[in-house]
Symmetry: C2
Subunit: 217 residues, 2 copies
C-alpha cells in the first residue's frame, strides 16, 4: 500500500489544491480519480459525513476537507512552507481562504450554475465580493507575496477554473476591465511554471463542466 | 491603548469562543460589547467584509472569524495548547470545528429560528448531524480527551446555548434519550470549573434569544 493516497477528481478545484500542496512539498502519492456520479466504497468509508473528494489517506488514516488537509500537509512534511511563518500573516491567509470558500467561490459557482433569479443575484454578489480580492492583490505578485502560497493555491477557482466556465454560459463577470489587478494575478498564476505544468486541460475542463451549467444559458 | 481588544457580544457563541481561548492562555484583554443592531464604526472598520463580531485587535492589527482568531491566539501566546500537538489530531480537531460551524450549528440555528417547512427540514437535518457528534464523543470525557480543547470550546452552541434556546420554542431535539453520550459531555462541560465560571446567565440568554426564535412557536 502506498503511504499517501489521495481520493480526488481531476476537475475538482478542492482536490487540485491538495495535489498542489503535495507537489509543493515533493510528497509522492497515489491519485485515485473518483467518478463523482458513482463514488467508490472506499471514498464513502473514509469520508462518511460529507461523502466528498478530496480525502487524503496517510498511513491508513483518512483526512477530509481540503483546507484541513493542506494544513496537515504543511505540518507533516518538510519542504517549502505553504502557510506563512508569521502568526498574523498565517491568520490573514486563513481568513482569505475562508472568504474564498464560503463567500466568493459559493457566489461564483451559483453565478455559473443556478438558474433564474438565484443566478442573477449570485452574479451581482460575486461581482461585489471579487472587489475585495481585487483590492487585496493590488501591488502584489501573488497573494503569498513573491511566491505561491496557501491563498494562491486555494484561489485556483478564480485563477483558472472560472475563466473557463464563465465562457460556457457566456458570462463576463471576471474581466480585465472590471478587475485589472486580479487579472494580472491570474496571468502570473497560470504562467507560473509550477501551476502551469499542473493545470487540467481547458478543452477537457469545458466538457466536464457543461453538465453543471445553468439551464438555458 | 490596551494591547489586546476583543470586539464581541456577550451572547454571541463565536465571540465567547475567542474569550475562552484568551482566558485559557491567560491573556488580558479589553472586551468591547457590541450592540449587534447598531454596530460600532470601529467594528465596521476592522471587519469591513463580514461586519461581524468577533474581531480581535492585537497591537492595532485586526483579525476576524472566530476559528482564525483562535488559531492565532494558540500560536501567539504561551500557555496550555488549545489545538492538539499531533498533526493528525490537529487535523481532526479542525475537521470537527468545520463540521460544527458549517453543518451542525447551521441546521440547529435554523431549527430554532426558521419558520415553516425550512425549520422542519432543519430539525430533521440537525437530528441526523448530531448523531455524528454523539458517536465522536462516545467514551471520551471531552472532545479534546481529558482536557477542554478547540472542539469543546467551539461546540459551545451544543454544550450550552442550544439547551437554552430549544426551550424557548419548545423543541426537544437535543435530549438525554436521543443523545446520551452528548448529554453526558454537556453535563461535564457546563460543570467544568473553567467553563462554568464563564457562561452567560441562563435568564439573560433566554431574553436575548427570544427575538431570534421562529415566528409562531
Amino acid at each position: 500500500m502506498a503511504e499517501v493516497k489521495l481520493f480526488g477528481c481531476w476537475y475538482s478545484r478542492f482536490s487540485w489544491r491538495v495535489e498542489m500542496a503535495l507537489k509543493l512539498k515533493g510528497v509522492e502519492y497515489e491519485f485515485i480519480d473518483e467518478d463523482l456520479s458513482n463514488k467508490s466504497p472506499l471514498l464513502l468509508k473514509y469520508n462518511p459525513i460529507h461523502k466528498k473528494v478530496p480525502v487524503l489517506l496517510h498511513n491508513g488514516k483518512p483526512i477530509a476537507e481540503s483546507s484541513v488537509i493542506i494544513e496537515y500537509i504543511d505540518e507533516t512534511w518538510e519542504g517549502p512552507s505553504i502557510l506563512p511563518q508569521d502568526p498574523y500573516e498565517r491568520a490573514m491567509a486563513r481568513f482569505w481562504v475562508k472568504f474564498i470558500d464560503e463567500k466568493c467561490g459559493v457566489a461564483m459557482w451559483k453565478a455559473f450554475s443556478s438558474p433564474g433569479e438565484e443566478g442573477e443575484k449570485a452574479i451581482e454578489e460575486a461581482a461585489q465580493l471579487l472587489k475585495y480580492l481585487e483590492e487585496e492583490i493590488k501591488g502584489k505578485k501573488f497573494f503569498g507575496g513573491e511566491n505561491i502560497g496557501l491563498v494562491d493555491i486555494s484561489a485556483n477557482f478564480i485563477g483558472y477554473w472560472f475563466g473557463i466556465i464563465q465562457k460556457i454560459v457566456g458570462l463576463e463577470l471576471l474581466t480585465k476591465e472590471k478587475y485589472p489587478n486580479l487579472c494580472e494575478w491570474i496571468d502570473g498564476y497560470i504562467n507560473h511554471s509550477f501551476i502551469k505544468d499542473n493545470l487540467p486541460p481547458k478543452d477537457k475542463m469545458t466538457e466536464a463542466f457543461k453538465a453543471y451549467a445553468r439551464p438555458g444559458y
